[in-house]
Amino acid sequence: MANRSNNKPIVWRLLHWGIFLGVIGLIPIIFGGNSYYMYVATLIGVYIITIMGLNLTIGYTGQISLGHAAFMGLGAYTVALMTLNGYSFWLALPLGASIAFVAGLILGLPALRVKHHYLALVTLGFGTVIYLFLSNEHEITGGFSGLPGIPRPSFFGINLSSNIAFYFLVAGFLVVLTIMMLWILNSRWGRAFKAIRENDMRAEMVGVSLLAYKLLAFAIGAAYAGVAGGLLAPLMKFIDPTAFPVHESFWFLIMLIIGGSGRFEGAFIGAIVVMLLPQFLRGAQQLYFVVFSAITLVILIFWPTGLAGLSDVFFRRVLKRNPPQLTK
């Protein structure tokens, strides 16, 4: 509600959008010549979508999900299997997202009846089961040999098979999904989510159905992961179960915490920082796992708002004013 806040958010929003679209536009101009860099940039876009969904579930509604890699896997395998069998990507992707959404609903139903750690446990178990399914049902999923040769889609006749073209497709999805997420967060749903996080008993006492909204937040988060998975499959052209193991979900969690859980920019900052740093500083992937998990612990203890909270510090200390918020 622009008119209700006194720190001119319209200007800030425009600025944020300017930076956001500017970065998206500049990347192909700067790195367009290098196909690998475009691939990395696209991959980061895909992960931002996942983390955005996770942020809704954890950051905005306060429910833990350790099954996000599995939701992503559902989206990825749906798109891979369908496009490999000749169906259109544009049919497969919504289906993949819907399957993830429904899986989120079904999974959420028993888990939300009970307390936090059960939700963690059940989602973790779900992740394990999906992983097992993907690796063992050779006839359907190809098992560990994976599914090679996933085609990249075309868009109204435009072939998107080059890395740079596919980048624009993912960027387009990112922009649309960002707008949708902002829409959701600024709608009455968003306020209900926030109310649940702030005081769930009172939320119930002003007419918010806890079950319905918790399920919604959970399932929407899952659907975002589903879309991301559906984009990941044609991006990588090859998928196998090792792309969606349980600890991948832990990794998402780490991205979110480092970026800033419950902050809209958190998903963007987290995915970019955590994905990009290893590209600049070469070295074993696992060393980064060590470094980032250690950073996560430090952030949790000393700086719960993550890197997105940095800007708050800047506004409060340097500009002596309240920081602007992208969502209410």
Binding site: L124, G125, H247, I257, A284, L287
Partner: protein
């Protein structure tokens, strides 16, 4: 065959139970759900393995590992990570222990080895024969040692003053505070206890699983399942849950499918959560 399966199920179940007891103790003392429990086990197994490889006698290696684990995985983890977060939400502590789990397993694979290493067979190889029944030494000794440890833990909690303080903190923190019990130091003690329990579990499981950076991950999860199925706030719950999970798993892999044994356990878990969310033997908490 049936008896062998039961024994092997109970033997793995005993280890689950042991790890699950550590889990429930942490929960009761500090409402911490330790997602790094399995990785604590890995760290202990690796330490022990390194010491044994250096030529340290096994018993000494065990004792040294107990010492290091008590300090590092007990004291330091409690003081350094859990203490600062203890007043925040459950979710924060869950995330923190997940990060800790990630830190531990990746540190091992980065700085030590990502390979599988065989752990020495400390109990010997020749099986015991009782008439027509042949039982592996490993299984028998695992059951004996695990049960002895569980009894010792129980005795400590029931009979000693620190044990009673632990119970007091678990049952009513406010009242415990009022009687002069230092909640923070009792909690630290429980973390140290858990770290010691985990070392023994590692000793029992390492010869079966082999030492690897991710050996504990599944085990920690199983212990979590066990604790939830049996009842999170009861030692006997963890015990029942552990044996149940062990036996179900063994029988599923023998008669149905090795790949999907987890699925069967998970189905049992979800059924328990839906029907009796506090677990089979658990009591409702406020």
């Amino acid at each position: 065959m049936f008896i062998q399966l039961v024994v092997s199920g109970i033997s793995i179940g005993a280890i689950y139970a042991l790890v699950a007891i550590g889990f429930t103790l942490l929960w009761q003392a500090s409402r911490t759900v330790n997602f790094a429990q399995g990785d604590f086990l890995t760290v202990s197994a690796v330490l022990m393995f390194i010491l044994v490889c250096l030529g340290v006698p096994f018993i000494l290696a065990l004792l040294v590992t107990v010492g290091i684990s008590a300090v590092l995985l007990g004291y330091v983890v409690k003081r350094g990570i859990i203490q600062p977060l203890i007043d925040r939400s459950h979710t924060t502590i869950i995330v923190a222990t997940i990060a800790l789990s990630f830190l531990a397993s990746n540190s091992i694979s980065t700085f030590w080895s990502a390979q599988c290493k065989p752990f020495p067979q400390i109990f010997g190889m020749t099986p015991y024969r009782f008439g027509s029944i042949i039982l592996s030494r490993q299984h028998v000794w695992t059951i004996v040692i695990a049960i002895a440890l569980i009894l010792a833990i129980n005795l400590f909690i029931q009979r000693t003053k620190p044990g009673k303080a632990m119970q007091a903190v678990a049952q009513n923190r406010e009242a415990a505070k009022i009687l002069g019990i230092n909640i923070s130091s009792v909690t630290t003690m429980v973390f140290v206890m858990n770290a010691v329990i985990v070392v023994f579990a590692a000793m029992l499981i390492a010869p079966v699983y082999m030492v690897r950076f991710d050996m504990g991950a599944q085990l920690g999860l199983k212990a979590f399942y066990s604790a939830t199925i049996g009842g999170f706030n009861q030692i006997r719950g963890a015990l029942l849950g552990g044996f149940l999970v062990g036996v179900i798993e063994t029988f599923t892999s023998a008669y149905i499918s090795t790949e999907y044994r987890e699925l069967v356990v998970l189905v049992v878990l979800i059924a328990v959560i839906l029907i009796r969310k506090e677990g089979l033997l658990g009591t409702e908490e406020r």
